[in-house]
């Protein structure tokens, strides 16, 4: 008993949180792998997603204040955020449905690519393919939150290459208007690539987070491959944003484990660091989970997803006439 307590004391995060992080990371990875295999077996036309970012995306979702409306956190995500979505408690079957573009796809009714979430009841605004525009909308939800009072914040995420769009700079500027600072956690997930273009060939900035400095913004670059560090850094940054009602620019170095998308093959890239492997080694070292337990987690998620996918691929496609649905919302907003 004494020994157990000592071990728990030494853990960087509570044991149950470490386990939960692991479980979600594995689920997120298994989801992406299932989506890739659906794509490869002809049950989807395009795959893009976040394998290699789970160590960052999962803690982000866990730390969000979940709910609908300005009293809760808003998420303006890009297309690699499935870990965050699962951490928000979302059923992964929705992602499978979107991959298969079924009528039941809860995010777009079979209209949009996989990974393009939209969950109004969780303040997840629609993910758009158009790089970086989310950075322009984030100040808007944040202004509503600041006005509403309380501690809810807006989170916006996007890649490193996308910071070349002027929209990234606009976000830095609009969140720091003197006296009108806005509670936005501005995230850049830096995987060092924009499709085939290495970041080092186009960006002179040593850390992308340095871009915030001229605006007097708090900034940090962290190791997004370490879920513990990510959790701690995110907790600190989000606490700052919640309390101070000011922005924080957080850059997380992450991996692109299966390349850019199905357009580049969606194959495992051996050179990329795998956050899950590193984390599992740590969990074993801490004595939190052993290999067998962790394998069981993986099998459990993989099987559940495989089974769900088998059902999803039988679900009906949207009808041709449905293109006319939702061009406009009804008067009351629907």
């Amino acid at each position: 008993m004494a020994q157990l307590v000592r071990i728990r004391d030494e853990l960087p995060l509570p044991r149950d949180l470490l386990v939960r992080l692991h479980d979600l990371m594995v689920q997120a990875r298994a989801l992406e792998e299932r989506l890739i295999s659906m794509y490869k077996s002809g049950h989807g036309y395009f795959w893009i997603g976040g394998p290699g970012e789970e160590a960052f995306s999962v803690p982000l979702g866990l730390l969000m204040k979940k709910g609908q409306g300005p009293a809760y956190d808003f998420l303006h995500a890009h297309y690699r955020q499935s870990g965050t979505i699962l951490a928000l408690g979302e059923d992964p079957v929705g992602a499978l449905r979107q991959m298969k573009n079924t009528a039941s796809d809860p995010y777009s009714g079979g209209r949009n690519f996989g990974g393009h979430y939209s969950i109004r009841r969780l303040n997840v605004v629609p993910v758009t393919s158009t790089i970086e525009v989310q950075y322009l909308m984030a100040p808007g939800t944040a202004l509503a939150q600041k006005r509403h009072g309380g501690d809810a914040i807006t989170i916006v995420t996007g890649g490193d290459a996308g910071t070349a769009e002027g929209d990234f700079a606009s976000c830095l500027l609009w969140t720091t208007r003197p006296g009108q600072e806005l509670p936005v956690l501005i995230v850049v997930t830096n995987n060092q690539w924009g499709i085939s273009t290495p970041a080092a060939t186009v960006h002179a900035t040593r850390n992308l987070s340095d871009r915030g400095k001229a605006f007097g913004m708090r900034t940090k670059t962290i190791d997004g491959n370490d879920p513990i560090a990510s959790y701690q850094e995110l907790a600190e940054a989000m606490a700052y944003v919640r309390k101070e009602r000011r922005p924080f620019l957080l850059e997380a170095k992450v991996s692109r484990l299966y390349g850019h998308s199905s357009a580049s093959g969606a194959n495992l890239v051996a050179e990329e660091q795998d956050c899950l492997r590193g984390y599992e080694a740590k969990l074993e070292r801490y004595g939190v989970l052993d290999r067998e337990q962790m394998d069981a987690v993986r099998v459990r998620h993989a099987e559940a997803l495989a089974q769900a996918a088998r059902a999803v691929i039988e679900e009906p496609q949207p009808s041709p006439d449905s293109i006319w649905d939702h061009v406009f919302a009804p008067k009351d907003g629907g």
Binding site: P126, P139, G140, T141, L173, H326
Partner: protein
């Protein structure tokens, strides 16, 4: 018309939940380069960044606010076309999960010697953006009523302000407006000089709404249908009066809403007259008036007594500053009258 829109926005702040009226120089002290937003309690100045302005509006709408954003001149909205597309797509893209109740207002068109970058029209690009309501008043009362409707919409509404009409006074008063224009001006126009202590005195206004999607016959006639909107509308009405003396009896329709437009009204009129002239000032290749011509041909070909015509801006890269250039670029009263005459004279 500037005062009418301002009063509608005041009404909307007070009664329709409008939370933010913003754009470059929209807040105090200026209250907009055309004075449209003077004295409004939720008006504020943005950074000089049109993309940021549209993004802010979308974000506010996502969060349940009711934003009215301004692009100072529509000429400066072209770098936001992707965002405008997205705003129009958002509800459809997520299969109805979200909707964006936002208004984007922007002055359009020529007529104030605005030269190349203060004379553009926006109707062609706006009507090519699915998911938007697009309105464009030609009178102060319609401007008032359409803005009231825009601020009650569940979807993005583009409110195109014919800038040359912003200083025009209407024949029909806004409900609540004092009869004496000087009295109104004293109440709601910001004074010259230091304005820091100034507060407007708003008249008691009402929710007079012009429904989106409804056109209006501004001059009945039997021989020829003329469809226009915005700045060209009064020119068409005037030209119709002029040619009436020569025995040309034109029906003039103010479309007022460009999307969704009042096809029933237009169709019924063309069915009656057999002749149609569409007038706007946007450049004439891939022009919204061409859509109306196409629809007329599609649905009414066999009832047409003459080819439906479009009179629009010349397909040149801009409206030049010198009077000769502006006049040669966008439809002028004599040309409009001539087009009516010609069309009326064409034998079937």
């Amino acid at each position: 018309m500037a005062q009418a829109i301002r009063m509608a926005l005041h009404y909307a702040e007070e009664h329709l939940g409008v939370t933010d009226i913003f754009g470059e120089d929209v807040g105090p002290p200026l209250g907009g380069v055309f004075t449209v937003t003077q004295g409004l309690s939720t008006a504020w100045n943005t950074p000089l960044d049109e993309r940021g302005i549209v993004g802010m509006a979308m974000g506010l709408a996502f969060a349940g606010q009711r934003p009215v954003a301004e692009i100072q001149f529509c000429d400066y909205a072209f770098n936001t076309m992707d965002l405008l597309k997205l705003a129009g797509q958002m509800c459809w893209m997520c299969n109805g999960d979200w909707n964006l109740p936002m208004v984007l207002k922007t002055p359009v068109g020529a007529g104030i010697r605005g030269s190349i970058y203060h004379s553009h029209s926006f109707d062609a690009v706006a009507t090519h953006l699915p998911g938007w309501r697009v309105v464009m008043p030609s009178t102060p009362l319609d401007a008032y009523g359409l803005m009231i409707s825009a601020c009650q919409e569940a979807n993005p509404v583009m409110f195109l302000e014919p800038k040359a009409l912003l200083r025009v006074r209407g024949d029909e008063p806004i409900p609540g407006e004092p009869a004496d224009p000087r009295a109104l001006s004293k109440m709601i126009d910001a004074p010259l000089g230091d304005r820091s202590g100034w507060r407007p005195q708003w008249p008691a206004l009402s929710a007079y709404a012009v429904p989106i999607g409804k056109g209006k016959v501004v001059r009945p006639g039997g021989q020829l249908t003329v469809v226009s909107y915005g700045r060209m509308l009064p020119l068409c009405a005037k030209a119709a009066d002029d040619v009436a003396a020569e025995g040309v009896d034109a029906e003039v329709i103010d479309l007022r809403t460009l999307a969704p437009y009042d096809w029933d009204l237009v169709k019924a009129s063309i069915e009656k007259t057999g002749r149609a002239l569409f007038v706007n000032e946007d450049t004439e290749v891939t022009n919204f008036g061409e859509h109306l011509v196409r629809r007329a041909v599609d649905e009414l070909f066999y009832r047409l007594l003459a080819p439906p015509r479009l009179l629009a801006g010349k397909a040149v890269p801009g409206v030049g500053l010198a009077d000769n250039l502006e006049r040669a670029s966008v439809p002028q009263p004599p040309e409009i009258a001539a087009a009516m005459r010609e069309l009326a004279a064409l034998a079937p």
